[in-house]
């Protein structure tokens, strides 16, 4: 293990000094930062440069009708440092209509498919993504199924295929 990686507390101090207005909190040894959408790319780039070289996951929570929620979508960036084994959670909240954040593919290449999955499931546009196509659902699919206002059984897309009969087959 190298020793020149700064600890999370040092990074947080520098970060809060550089980006005033960040919310940080800790719960059971896990540190969380809430970033406003305009500064998300700058903060995440800073964290990458500060040693968080691994983007573990990008995912999202839909807070539709959630008690106390002010914005609908909460993006989650899970970061880790392979040198110091420290972890950090970064939350970015966006709202309807047309939720969008800037893509971090330029910072971590692993964000490519993770952001495509979030786009597919939640319909959050990642501005600057090189290839923002659906990852899991079929290309012709138009909805974003993990949104809370999408019915569990779909809108009938699963019944929408040509029928093969004995004569045709």
């Amino acid at each position: 293990m190298t020793t020149d990686q700064p600890a999370t507390a040092d990074i947080l101090e520098t970060l809060v000094a550089r980006f005033p207005g960040l919310e940080t909190s800790a719960y059971r040894g896990q540190t969380r930062i809430v970033v406003g959408e305009p500064a998300s790319l700058e903060v995440l780039s800073f964290l990458a440069a500060a040693g968080f070289d691994l983007l573990v996951d990008v995912t999202c929570v839909d807070y539709l009708e959630y008690r106390g929620a002010t914005q609908r979508y909460g993006l989650v960036y899970l970061l880790a440092s392979t040198a110091t084994a420290r972890r950090l959670t970064v939350r970015v909240f966006v709202d309807d209509p047309e939720p969008a954040v800037r893509s971090v593919v330029g910072v971590w290449r692993s964000a490519d498919w993770l952001e495509r999955e979030v786009w597919d499931m939640f319909g959050i546009r990642f501005v600057g993504h090189p290839d923002l196509r659906r990852l899991v659902m079929p290309e012709q699919f138009t909805a974003h199924p993990l949104r809370k206002d999408y019915p569990l059984q779909g809108r009938g897309e699963r019944h929408n295929f040509p029928v093969l009969t004995r004569e045709e087959g």
Partner: protein, 197 residues
């Protein structure tokens, strides 16, 4: 006028002979997508030994198969593949829908899982179970053999079953190419107006 036959000659119909050949050499296409596929493998393995029924020759090219065994759930993205593989199989061909998921969608009553493959391809035998035991699959193959022996014809006239197939798949009928966009799709609109219980 009586026909004198030597005792090593048997008279039969050509249909019966073709059926007898076909039913005892079913070559399955294992379309295994889930846990039913494990039971399917167990059925083919030594203990249950599908070779006793002449159906042990699993082939992974649809062009060499005449029995498709759909074992497991089929999702929206997989269904076009399933249909393509079905079309690639040569006549005469049969289909076994193995397990609750392939037959009805099973517990996966969600937006992406097809609620029964018989909506979109013809099915000859349904095997209940989640997953079915190998004995159940063997029973389905025995029943299919009976069906082939009973109904089969050498020219495949028994497959002209358009009326029967249409009745089973009343929800979607061919209205030409449909849009996946819900607002422009008459089938989806109808489903929204009359949701299935």
């Amino acid at each position: 006028m009586a026909l004198e036959l030597p005792e090593n000659v048997v008279v039969s119909r050509l249909d019966e002979l073709a059926n007898w050949c076909r039913k005892n050499s079913l070559w399955p296409m294992p379309f295994a997508t889930a846990c039913c596929g494990i039971e399917l493998m167990a059925t083919g393995a030594a203990k249950h030994d599908l070779a006793r029924f002449g159906a042990e020759v699993f082939r992974f090219s649809p062009r060499q198969c005449d029995l498709m065994i759909v074992a497991g759930r089929v999702v929206m993205k997989m269904l076009p593949v399933l249909q393509r593989i079905w079309l690639q199989m040569h006549e005469p061909k049969w289909c076994i829908s193995m397990g609750a998921c392939a037959s009805t969608g099973g517990v996966f009553d969600t937006y992406s899982v097809v609620q029964g493959i018989d909506r979109f391809i013809p099915v000859d035998m349904y095997v209940p179970g989640c997953p079915p035991r190998p004995e159940q699959l063997i029973q389905a193959i025995i029943d299919l053999q009976d069906k082939i022996q009973r109904e089969g014809t050498i020219t495949g006239r028994e497959f002209e079953t358009r009326e029967r197939q249409l009745r089973k798949r009343a929800l979607v009928e061919a209205i030409g190419p449909l849009s996946l966009d819900a607002a422009r799709n008459p089938v989806i609109q109808r489903e929204l107006r009359f949701p299935r219980s």
